[in-house]
């Protein structure tokens, strides 16, 4: 009998083209996603060498990072961003790569459109010059972010040089309670293991709580694997995965669908397989999480208090916490609930999907955001925007006083003019609270869409579990 294997081992072995002694493996890549910010230098590299793109049919491009989320019929205000997007158009045309650019009905954040189009499938290797490529792991794919030199390698050879990763099981037992969501699970994990906890590893999320999540919730968790230091994080495919994929544009259909599902059912980790590391989280004990500091590991349950540097034994961590609290202008020991908020951002590849917007809208329906708060709702893709408008969510947001925008990365990375002013506080459904991430001098509290919407109503960091009817609100969302 063969040795029990993890899903990571299986996908890895399926994709090793060759391996020289002492060298990393040449790993075949099934899907390469490309965007405007991390690709121009790679295309220049191809031109300099006089080589083409090996598999344009396994390469998909979109513009998401630096594009405005205001009226698309207007010209870009930012000439550098405009030039970068134009360069992507030129590159895709020259090298024969399909581009879902501005105006294309499939435009959107690269990690939202891959799954939406059915391009992201179980058992695949997927890469993109973007660290949140880990999102696609929700489908049981080995998906990870790469640098621009590696983008060039994949364009040229449809392979990468990789050492096989170590595995890290993150088992989430039990069930989430109303008001607690996938975002809170991943923030709780990172708060426990730290932002470097998963370095060198691939997370595999397992357990009852994970099995009970929808695909979009699973994407939220896998998305932030990188914030725990793991380049990739994945979830074994199951009926939830197949149901989501069935009928999507690039998913197999007819007889090939049945054959594909049969293969996908063999992917989950075998009983008895071992991981290099493991951790268990009790879902029932989780509260909504919120970050107070300047990295995603600086998170606490929402009813908690900001920790004190004096309680940190390690001098490096003490210094880091002091620095973070100074930047955030928060006092050790203060409750995070009730902290003033200037801006609320709902969107990003973490929480910009239709179910996230439904959750936020369910909280905001027939209510109005607090005076002085700016709420930006940015759909993750043009398709998400159209669906939200079909369901009337845009009307709910507008009536609540929110700014309803076009699809893109927007204030998650703040490259496009959507940004905080120095000193402002934001509750953000995005993935990074680094210094200046959402605008120079801006201060970010990472949280779930429910917490973000509750905070927009209150004008301060607020606990979504105190919202009337939270049991039914939390059931909103769908697949």
């Amino acid at each position: 009998m063969s040795k029990p294997r993890t899903i990571v081992d299986k996908i890895w072995t399926d994709h090793v083209v060759s391996q020289d002694p002492g060298a990393p493996a040449v790993l075949a890549i099934d899907l390469h996603l490309v965007h405007e910010v991390t690709s121009p230098q790679a295309f220049s590299g191809l031109r300099a060498r006089g080589i083409g793109v090996r598999r344009p049919t396994q390469t998909v491009a979109t513009a998401d990072h630096s594009i405005p989320t205001t009226d698309r019929s207007l010209p870009f205000l930012d000439q550098m961003a405009a030039a970068q997007v134009r360069q992507l158009e030129v590159n895709c045309a020259e090298f024969g790569i399909p581009l879902h650019g501005i105006g294309d009905p499939s435009q959107g954040i690269v990690h939202v459109i891959g799954p939406q189009l059915g391009l992201t499938q179980p058992g695949m290797t997927i890469v993109c010059g973007d660290s949140h490529t880990s999102t696609h792991g929700a489908f049981g794919a080995l998906a990870f972010g790469i640098g621009t030199s590696e983008v060039e390698m994949v364009l040229a050879t449809q392979t990468l040089l990789q050492r096989d990763p170590k595995t890290y099981e993150v088992r989430v037992d039990g069930r989430l309670t109303p008001g607690v969501s996938a975002k809170d699970v991943i923030l709780a994990l990172i708060a426990r293991i730290g932002v470097g906890g998963g370095t060198g590893h691939v997370f595999e999320y397992t357990g009852e709580a994970i099995r009970g999540l929808t695909m979009e919730q699973r994407m939220t968790i896998c998305n932030m694997s990188i914030e725990g230091g793991a380049r990739a994080g994945l979830i074994a495919p199951d009926d939830t995965t197949f149901e989501y994929l069935h009928g999507r544009a690039h998913a197999p259909h007819g007889a090939s669908w049945d054959a594909a599902v049969e293969g996908w059912r063999r992917l989950p980790t075998d009983a008895g397989a071992t991981y290099d590391k493991s951790i268990t989280i009790d879902a029932d004990a989780l509260e909504p999480m919120v970050t107070y500091g300047t990295n995603p590991g600086m998170g606490i349950p929402i009813s908690g208090r900001v920790p004190s540097p004096r309680d940190q034994a390690d001098p490096g961590q003490r210094r880091a916490l002091e620095h973070a609290l100074e930047y955030m202008d928060l006092r050790p020991g203060q409750p995070i609930l009730g902290q003033k908020v200037d801006v609320v951002f709902v969107g990003s590849c973490t929480n910009g999907r239709i179910s996230d917007l439904r959750l936020a809208a369910s909280v905001l329906k027939d209510r109005h955001i607090a005076d002085g708060v700016r709420l930006m709702v940015v759909p993750g893709s043009d398709e998400v925007k159209r669906e939200a408008e079909r369901e009337g969510l845009d009307q709910v947001f507008k009536a609540a006083g929110a700014d309803w925008r076009e699809a893109g990365c927007s204030m998650c990375i703040a490259m496009n003019g959507d940004q905080l002013r120095p000193g402002q506080y934001a509750v953000s459904t995005s993935n990074r609270n680094f210094e200046g991430r959402q605008g120079k001098g801006g201060r970010t509290f990472l949280a779930s869409p429910l917490t973000a919407a509750a905070s927009a109503l209150a004008g301060v960091v607020a606990d979504p579990r105190r919202l009337p009817g939270i049991e039914t609100l939390a059931a909103v969302g769908g697949r």
């Binding site: 083209v17 099934d30 030039a83 230091g229 210094r319 200046g436």
Partner: protein, 212 residues
């Protein structure tokens, strides 16, 4: 590709901060470039400059007297966390950094550095603390980095040995890049492709309308 890596001696840039993320190394607003040049000015931009573009006081380590030309960055745990932007490695290389000393690096950053001739050297926590102490005593202490021998020579004559992926070492020492290596694997890649039909065709949907 970077120049071949030779033994070099340099004073050190000490930056005692942990989990320094790539948004600090190069803020996102500098990612709109379409080439690799000129990123030295963006390096640690928001730690170096005030809103009005003047240097912050007290000055950030890069802008203190005598720091120009230093080739070694000594920094806290988990350097390069966050985004995959290779601009971080380009900016460090462009400023002149050729080697980094830390206890750990984020995976993507480490990979990006190696491809740009910036050597991410891992030292154990005790050695790491000892290096910061050395720099506190003698801010102008010179270290010699020898990649072939995998050692960092200290002023007192002792050597810190370090590990590095042997393949990456070979690439950096020769100043060659991984793409050249992969392009030479064309026959193997073609054979693999022949045996593994592509799972998608991005130009042609499988035949059904997109589901909602």
């Amino acid at each position: 590709m970077a120049e071949p890596f030779t033994v070099f001696r340099s004073r050190v840039l000490p930056l005692p901060a942990e989990n320094v993320d790539t948004d600090q190394i190069v803020p996102a607003r500098y990612l709109k470039v379409t080439d690799k040049a000129g990123l030295a000015d963006a390096l640690f931009r928001d730690w170096r400059y005030d809103e009005d573009g003047s240097l912050k006081e007290p000055r950030f380590v890069l802008d203190q007297p005598g720091m120009t030309g230093r080739r070694i960055l000594l920094v806290g745990d988990n350097f390069g966390a966050g985004s995959s932007r290779e601009h971080a490695a380009w900016a460090l290389a462009s400023w002149g950094v050729r080697a980094i000393l830390s206890t750990s690096y984020a995976d993507i950053f480490r990979s990006n550095s190696l491809k740009n001739g910036v050597l991410p050297i891992v030292v154990d926590p005790t050695t790491h603390a000892r290096l910061f102490e050395l720099l506190a005593r003698d801010p102008d202490a010179e270290l010699t980095v020898d990649l072939s021998e995998q050692g960092v020579l200290l002023p007192d004559g002792t050597t810190i040995d370090f590990d590095i992926d042997p393949f990456a070492k070979r690439m950096i020492l020769a100043g060659t890049d991984e793409l050249g290596y992969l392009l030479a694997k064309d026959a193997e890649i073609s054979a693999w492709e022949a045996a593994h039909p592509p799972r998608i065709n991005a130009l042609t949907p499988a035949g059904q309308p997109t589901a909602g």
